[in-house]
């Protein structure tokens, strides 16, 4: 009996390790995002919502590093103070998504055939809705808030992960070491606890890191559509939405929040890939 046979093949991301400098940059950025989220006052002491009406729509410069918006609010301060809600929504949505995916994927793979069949159909129905549409429906039903946004994004992205987990569990179930455990007469519960679930769930650590970035992009999309956190929140998608009215006059109001969202998503993706590669190396 062993649990050290070859690691599960999913998820199938490109596993070529990024160059170390990429990881180093990602770690530095992670540190910056962490400080921004936990102690925003250290990086931006001012009130992010304070009005500077005499400096409205000021371009980036020495007084306002990233410029100001139509009411003179400092964009740098708002970006820093917007990190916490962005990360909270990203992590929250990923937790919701993976929890739901574990439940649905686990049932689809392990439950009795009638139950598994029903769960499969449910996942297929959820699949038939575009994720954004599903998220829009939930926001419309539950109202606008950070919590709703996290739940909406989580539910919207869960079907894909549910499919992945189902496949992962089925692949593990048919692996030689599980067959060996069955032959040895181990109980179903023991096999599940000791062999199937640990091997099926381990790759999810990397998937979680990847999904944080994806969730932040989804949540920002909802905010951009005016369905996210209510203004004047400094949540990045909301900043992006507010800035589009000034697109041709104050580029920084859209370009900067957009870039920050991209950078955070890339950072999370880079860390996730490295984590995945690391796990795969350990499994070999």
């Amino acid at each position: 009996m062993t649990t050290t046979t070859s690691a599960p093949a999913l998820p199938r991301f490109r596993t070529r390790a990024a160059r170390p400098w990429g990881l180093h940059v990602a770690l530095l950025l992670t540190a910056w995002f962490a400080v921004s989220a936990l102690w925003p006052g250290l990086l931006a002491p001012g009130d992010p919502l304070e009005l500077h009406l005499d400096s409205a729509l000021a371009a980036p410069g020495p007084h306002h590093l990233l410029g100001t918006d139509e009411a003179g609010r400092d964009l740098y301060s708002r970006i820093v103070h917007g990190t916490a809600p962005a990360l909270a929504i990203g992590f929250g949505a990923s937790l919701v998504s993976l929890a739901l995916a574990l439940l649905l994927g686990g049932l689809a793979a392990l439950a009795a055939r009638p139950v598994a069949s029903v769960v499969d159909r449910v996942v297929e129905v959820l699949f038939s809705f575009p994720s954004l549409l599903l998220a829009l429906l939930l926001v419309a039903l539950l109202g606008q808030s950070a919590l709703t946004e996290a739940v909406a994004v989580g539910v919207g992205t869960a079907p894909g992960y549910a499919r992945m987990i189902r496949g992962q569990i089925l692949a593990t179930k048919s692996s030689p070491y599980v067959e060996a455990a069955v032959t040895l007469g181990h109980s179903r519960t023991r096999i599940l606890r000791q062999h199937v679930l640990p091997n099926a769930v381990r790759p999810l650590v990397a998937v979680f890191a990847l999904s944080v970035g994806q969730s932040i992009v989804w949540a920002s999309s909802l905010s951009f559509l005016g369905l996210g956190v209510a203004p004047p929140s400094s949540e990045w998608g909301a900043l992006l939405d507010a800035g589009r009215l000034y697109l041709t006059h104050a580029w920084w109001l859209t370009i900067v929040p957009g870039l920050v969202i991209v950078v955070l998503a890339l950072t999370a993706t880079t860390l996730g890939k490295h984590l995945q590669a690391s796990l795969e190396r350990n499994d070999r």
Partner: protein, 564 residues
């Protein structure tokens, strides 16, 4: 090409009025690309100017980009009035001096007691279903409005209207219970459009909603919900108003009245030549669009401006001192002038806008920004403690006020930014303002309409006279409910003042009474103004003759024509 003049078939170019249709999706994509290019190149999208001796053309299709899509063409919302005035004629029109001029009524007079109005209708007018315009049909329309056919017409005339009588085919009498000397100008609003009685009686409500039958310059061809309404020229139009710029049917064949809700996309569509005219130019784009050679029209709508009404029956604003403290805590002028880019006019008067006859400057000037005074008022009112976040408290309860607003329709993007400024400025005095954007469906469905649900109501209500005070401040009593009384303020003194004004024939005396009512509202801090509601248009230089009707600032396309 910025516009679509008709082409002759022989020149190998497109035929008039039948250019390739571009869907809103294509329009949005083109617009987005234009935005990006414009962003890269600075302002971009300069309008191509026609030659000085360019000849006027007949025919063609105007593509007009409008902001908001109503549920029906005819109804009680200004967005419906803008549409329905293309299709329906009123009894009167409003000239630039604010006087009523003939439209379907060629003349009118009032009885000595002011209780009977007699209208003499134009002869030979037909609705587009072929039925004639008669006094009986107009009387039917008035009863239709008052029975719920138009909610706004109903609240205007409710309490005054008694009956309508057709004396003969062309003579109509309206009987009132109290004198209403400004009735003729009131009827110039789009809410009072006259429809075919035959159509109202024989067609379904849905048919009359989507394509009402009137005698106007255009007819509704079809409505693609979420995209556009197509209006076709009425070639038999005979009933243009006296202030029309030409006699005869419209010059253009068709209007594609498109709904482009995103303001940036709207402006980009004009620059790209995808639209010939657009509504509601964002303040930030206003100067650049004009500088790039597009014609701009701006109308400050009369009536209630964009304002904040305080809940006087529940919550912290039941205390007049707290209402005044809120007013003093705001530098409203600077907020509006900064965010409004100098385009949106600041309005201190919460009762009526500066373009309204009888406007009181004294009411507008009641509350200047005075933060120490705001704080002193709050402390005197018992809100003398401050919590760790800087908000005032009383008996351990934070001074939190809820401000829901209809996001995207009643309050546009500029308005939302101004409300965020209000939230931040009031915070300096210790108010925690809970801004709640409400989707239009929820708002029009009655969300946040009860006293327990809100502390401040934001919004406007356009009109042509200060008679709007009657709509907004008449008491909300069980026997005579008034759901438009946003402050829930029942005061017989204020109501009597407004009723006196409404029935005073002498204009100066009437304006003095309306002024006193505005000052009463300001003195008790029942409502404070923010900014005047604008109706703005930007028009391609190759489209001439577009003007804004004087009642509500809607676009008039009857006189519009392309030039070569």
């Amino acid at each position: 090409m910025p516009s679509r003049p008709p082409r002759t078939p022989s020149d190998g170019r497109p035929r008039p009025g039948r250019r390739p249709r571009r869907t809103p999706r294509a329009l949005a994509a083109t617009a987005a690309l234009t935005v990006l290019l414009a962003g890269c190149a600075g302002s971009g999208g300069r309008a191509v100017q026609p030659a000085a001796d360019a000849k006027p053309l007949t025919g063609g299709t105007i593509v007009y980009g409008h902001q908001q899509e109503p549920a029906c063409v005819f109804g009680g919302w200004i967005e419906q009035a803008y549409l329905s005035t293309q299709v329906l004629d009123d009894l009167t029109s409003l000239d630039t001096d604010g006087r009523a001029v003939p439209w379907l009524a060629q003349s009118w007079q009032t009885s000595a007691d002011g209780l009977t109005w007699t209208f003499d209708l134009k002869r030979g007018v037909e609705f587009t279903d072929g039925t004639p315009l008669t006094a009986a049909a107009v009387a039917y329309n008035v009863d239709y409005w008052m029975n719920g056919g138009n909610s706004t017409a109903q609240v205007w005339l409710g309490g005054y209207y008694e009956s309508a009588t057709a004396l003969d085919d062309h003579t109509l009498q309206l009987h009132l219970s109290r004198p209403y000397p400004r009735l003729d100008v009131t009827l110039a609003q789009g809410y009072f459009g006259i429809q075919s009685q035959h159509a109202l009686e024989t067609r379904s409500a849905q048919e009359n909603c989507e394509a009402p039958i009137g005698s106007g310059a255009f007819t509704v061809d079809h409505w693609d919900r979420g995209q556009e309404i197509v209006l076709l020229k009425n070639p038999d139009y005979t009933s243009w108003p006296a202030n029309s710029q030409h006699a005869g049917p419209a010059y253009v064949d068709r209007i594609d009245w498109r709904f482009v809700s995103n303001p940036t996309t709207r402006v980009a569509s004009l620059r790209a030549g995808e639209t010939d005219a657009i509504y509601d130019v964002p303040a930030v784009d206003y100067a650049a669009v004009g500088a790039d050679g597009f014609q701009e029209l701006k109308h400050v709508t009369k009536g209630r401006p964009q304002q904040l009404s305080f809940n006087t029956v529940a919550g912290p604003f039941t205390d007049e001192s707290v209402r005044k403290a809120f007013a003093y805590s705001l530098d409203r002028r600077k907020l509006v002038e900064t965010i409004g880019q100098g385009v949106i006019p600041y309005e201190g008067n919460g009762a009526v806008s500066r373009s309204t006859p009888g406007y009181s400057q004294a009411a507008a000037d009641t509350y200047d920004h005075d933060l120490p005074k705001a704080i002193a008022l709050l402390e005197a009112a018992g809100w003398d403690a401050v919590d760790e976040e800087g908000y005032r408290t009383k008996d351990g309860k934070r001074l939190t006020v809820r401000l829901p607003y209809n996001s995207g329709t009643i309050i546009d993007a500029d308005g939302a930014a101004i409300l965020q400024g209000v939230q931040q400025e009031a915070r300096a005095a210790g108010f925690e303002v809970d801004l709640i954007p409400v989707p239009p469906s929820g708002f029009f469905g009655g969300a946040y309409s009860k006293p327990a649900e809100r502390d401040i109501a934001a919004g406007y209500w356009t009109s042509v006279t200060a008679g709007i005070l009657y709509v907004n401040w008449r008491q909300n009593l069980e026997a005579t409910p008034n759901y438009s009384n946003a402050a829930f303020y029942n005061d017989p003194v204020l109501e009597d003042l407004i009723l006196q004004a409404n029935s005073t024939a002498d204009v100066d005396a009437q304006n003095a009474l309306y002024g006193r009512a505005q000052e009463y509202i300001a003195d008790h801090a029942l409502s404070i103004g923010l900014f005047d509601r604008l109706s703005t248009l930007a028009v391609s230089p190759r489209l001439k003759g577009v003007w804004q009707e004087n009642a509500q600032g809607g676009p008039v396309f009857h006189d519009a024509h392309f030039v070569d």
